[in-house]
Symmetry: D2
Subunit: 386 residues, 4 copies
């Protein structure tokens, strides 16, 4: 793997080069009074644990208030109802940097407690952030003074990547890229759905002992692997795995390669809709994941199956409704497209770190999932795609 290795060497080794580069960064930092990389990456993001916070009384009090609090309480009640509907398969959609923001454990808990049956996500959440932490890395709190972007040049010198108020060690992220390439190299050279690839990432974690049982961090990728919850990333190249896969294809010039077939993703998720017609969506952010999951209703129709619209739909977003973007298009608008039913839909206009612990925590402490059966949809797809 010369190409990537060369890049890695250029970036994180050999020791001499790296340390000279680091020194350059540090000198700059000293000049400008900035702390060094170690200090900047000292306060890790901690993931909120909804199991520890019984927010039911708080959420119920919000039901008789106004604006976002009432919307949030209604969304929580719809999520509870969705889980109590024994026919309903729940699809979780993730956009925006959610894992780096401290929401990983919420999603792990939803998977492990049968509160979600499939996930559609941006690649960044699943690979760059969740799988990255599964490998043993962390995200870090950035001081308020870095939000402005005025020090981003210095951060670049230090190889620290910034997501608004959060830091990532780019040297660690390069190891994550590299690991996805290892996974790619291990797969048969044919078109794969992103779902298949991510399942292989889960298997890798288990094989490498990157599990809570062996002292590792828990992760969405691992939990979903163990619980047979399929994860789809419809724009899979657009993340750390993209770098690994490009390196894989580049190295195999002319020879057959692993490819990621986004049509297969769409086909697979549509199969799930056809097999389990009653569905509900829990959407954080909008973008491609939202649209992709909504579109399977139409796709089922195209395949000749008269699938009903998504019966339940919740979206937590800060996106502005008035520019026509998909991220922000209302769930009512989706009903004109025949995608979402309007009986049980609720938009919550809030940044997700505030709203999601309340919505998910409410449903969890209501034990809405207590009698819910595991769907293990991944097994269904193994059969289909075998």
């Amino acid at each position: 793997m010369p190409a990537v290795r060369k890049a890695m060497v250029e970036r994180i080794g050999p020791d001499e080069f790296t340390s000279s580069r680091r020194r350059q960064g540090c000198d700059f930092a000293i000049l400008s009074g900035m702390p060094d990389k170690k200090e900047l990456l000292s306060q890790p993001i901690e993931h909120i644990d909804i199991k520890r916070h019984d927010v039911r009384a708080l959420v119920e009090a919000m039901r008789s208030m106004a604006y976002s609090s009432r919307d949030l309480a209604r969304a929580a009640a719809i999520y509870e109802r969705m889980l109590r509907d024994q026919d309903c398969g729940v699809i979780l959609c993730l956009a925006g940097s959610l894992i780096s923001a401290g929401l990983k454990q919420v999603f792990v808990d939803l998977v492990r407690n049968n509160m979600v049956d499939a996930i559609v996500s941006t690649g960044a959440n699943i690979v760059d952030q969740d799988f990255f932490e599964a490998l043993g890395f962390r995200h870090y709190i950035a001081g308020d003074e870095y939000k402005s972007g005025m020090q981003d040049g210095v951060l670049r010198e230090l190889m620290i990547d910034r997501i608004y108020d959060t830091f990532i060690d780019e040297e660690e992220l390069r190891i994550c890229d590299e690991t996805t390439r290892t996974v790619a190299d291990s797969l048969p050279t044919r078109p794969h759905s992103s779902r298949e690839f991510i399942r292989a990432m889960g298997a890798y974690l288990e094989q490498q002992g990157k599990t809570p049982a062996k002292g590792g961090a828990d992760s969405i990728v691992l939990a979903a692997y163990q619980k047979d919850v399929p994860i789809f990333c419809p724009a899979f190249s657009d993340c750390s795995a993209g770098f690994g896969l490009v390196a894989h294809q580049h190295a195999r010039q002319g020879k057959p390669t692993v490819s990621i077939d986004s049509v297969k993703d769409f086909y697979e998720l549509t199969q799930l809709k056809i097999a389990n017609p009653t569905t509900g969506l829990l959407m954080i952010g909008g973008g491609v994941p939202k649209n992709f999951a909504q579109d399977i209703v139409v796709a089922a129709d195209v395949l000749g199956t008269d699938a009903p619209m998504h019966k339940y739909a919740i979206q937590i977003t800060v996106a502005d409704v008035r520019d026509g973007a998909l991220s922000s298009s209302t769930l009512k608008e989706a009903s004109s497209w025949g995608k979402v039913d309007t009986a049980y839909e609720q938009m919550v206009y809030s940044e997700a770190t505030l709203a999601l612990p309340l919505v998910a925590g409410y449903a969890y402490h209501q034990r809405a999932h207590a009698d819910r059966k595991e769907r293990r949809w991944a097994r269904l797809l193994e059969q289909v795609t075998a």
Copy 2:
């Protein structure tokens, strides 16, 4: 094609069924005092023509004002500078429903006047909206009273899809889905980049005489085909083409199929960056297209080439910076990732239909592109991927 045909029949024919369904919609509409489908789809969206509006004095006046007007004037100046830089390849990124909103001709003009060398877009803009119009269909103005979503149930009955304040005839959109399947069926059964598929769509338009020369509407897909401007849709299943491709794969159960390899997209765009190191980004909205185009700097590095950051970057968006989403992450933040240089970058916080005609119109009337050479990057990729 029984599956899709069945769906099509169920939706748009045979006459009897359709008309009974239509009557049902109409009856409902009459009961609630709504106009019928024909009336609702009577006022087409007209695309603004920047060539007719010399906005230079206006934009220059904005340079000495504050807030968005000053940002916009600075963005226009950066776009001009980008075009005058003979080394610079310009990548246009499109997210949000822009074509349906009346911006199609702006992008066609950018392509035809050598003001853009590659396009990265959501599928909806390129297939559901641009290719859709190229087939002879239109988007329609929705009355203010439909924005609220209170009539979306009735619209569904009438098979009218709504994008905020704009209507689409879903029966026509189904024909667009079907056409993408025709294109898919005509291709060799191997992994394709979305770029290759969209190029085939352009060839289809030319073959079918869907060109201005033969009385058809001009389109981005056609102009890009003719000018060898590659178009990438990194989440290509997430649009009308996804429906056609799913139908294609479904019909070929067990046999080899066309697949859409998103890794290949990423690899191809990275090759362009390597071949033409100096680059600038003109981004409308954020999401996957923005991230995908920014990431090629890192991907080139992964492939062992020390490609410089994007030298110029403009983003027009209404997204909120404070939720950490990619759509809204500032260009300064991207510089911490080593993706965008900070010397010539400008965010413009405005809805695109207001800001883009001014930014693009300014550069056009400055004749910034007058001495700019065609890059015809698609040819470069034919060689690479042949």
Copy 3:
């Protein structure tokens, strides 16, 4: 009081006219399938009680997350610190419709527990909403289908006023207008600060037995009266009291009247700053209240006193920073004006019904106010203005 009475008659009586008007509204409502006024006003807004929700663990968990949750946790910690600083006088600023949204009890609790020493507010919160409820009236939950505004014409016929997702009976609001006139008529005919007028409103509530002790609802106006917490409304005509005061002045054509001197408000609040130099701001929304409270630092300077900047400042808002409006100007920006110190300042970008119960509830359950002394600033002003 013929003018107002005439208006009142026209609006809420005599019985015959009203009922004919009501019938007209109802008929219209029946035609369009709408419920009648009584049904529309059947579900009252209930105010959240922070005393019942120990949110400390939740807020502490948010401290190590990102985006709004971390900002919120930091704001809560600053509010706690502000209360533990024995020298610090706390000024609460209110803009936006907060009382109608279910936050009244939060503010009442802050006043009754010595967690706030002065209030600067829009008139609507204090008069149209808080005093209105003190008179025995309520706000009501509006169904989701009314948010769009499509039924606002019918609501007007029914004399129901709407605030986004909340209803008010305009006939009751007219009684509130009328009551403010009664208060005005009882005062000496000279310039009053809004603070003096609102204090008279508090005295009126006590005299009329509109108190919890006598079975009435608790209110900010009453609690502030009893605890000698001054309330300022710098734009006092811009509310229900404005209607009462205009009627008062109109009826006294040519004779001396009560007037509301906004300069006196500014002078009084500045006196408090001079008497108690260490101050902190807890701001919900922005607008005039925020600006007014920030400006007293400069006003003290103008009066020759070298008052320090506000030492602590928290603002909860959804306003967009990028249009230069005062509602949204950052607290850092205020520091360039010498108004707010930057050591302990935090913006929380969230709708207030979600964020305030967490921020205020955290400080309350931390018992940050336990050893805090009452300031009873209203007494200080009685001396000054006597």
Copy 4:
């Protein structure tokens, strides 16, 4: 005037003290590599001149697009219609820092061309910004690097105030404060409406030769004075005039003073509504000015006059509709309150520096005001209040 003078001395003289203070600021600036005050205040804001930009074709093209461009075109058409309606009195409402942003000349042109009959504004626009410039001072362009607020401490040392991306010399602003005190000292000691006070400010400008005829800058205050267009600031203490008036009242301890009666403002504007029942609102931003102007419909009713709702209403704002704040409440919502008719109303969600030159410029170049008669409402009020 010892108090203010003391403050002034402390701030801008005597020379020795000032220069030592200045040096302190400069030293700090040098240390941190910042330019000095003179350099920071070298690029003045220039006001856009709508008379020079015929935007009609551009705005008309926007009519058949979507989102904000269509809304803007509709707003422009409504403003044109409002001006052509010979019965209609036009009330302009201003909130947010608009004058400092380069929009002063737009409003001056509206006044001088009979395109507006009354103005309701925040005090900052009228006093701190417009009157300030009338005195010969300017606003300055702040470099992009100051937007973040990271240098606000240094700016404070240099006595430079920041409004997002714009600088003000606080030493000059102090002179503006002082001038308002001079005006206050010249008035009879009785309650005044803000309208009367601002009229006196206009007279002061004319007396002092601060007019274009004598080489000075044109201003809203002067133009309104000359054209008898009344200007109301319902929260008048909340601006530079507040400082002057507080100093005035402070200096006159115990003696009669000028006071600013906000009830009188409300009464006067209501009288205009009664005298001229057909009205239209052109609102930039929301807040107190918007609410105040809308409320006069109800106030007229309270005074026994059955005044019609505002017939036309346009609002340009970036405020978010979903938090129930007045700044953002839709014009439809106002119709439930009986304040605004829904036949001709349009919200435009855009930052004002982009949208207003197009809306106002369109109406101007359509010559919609050509046959419009001057209303000279200030004269009407002189009679009423005499």
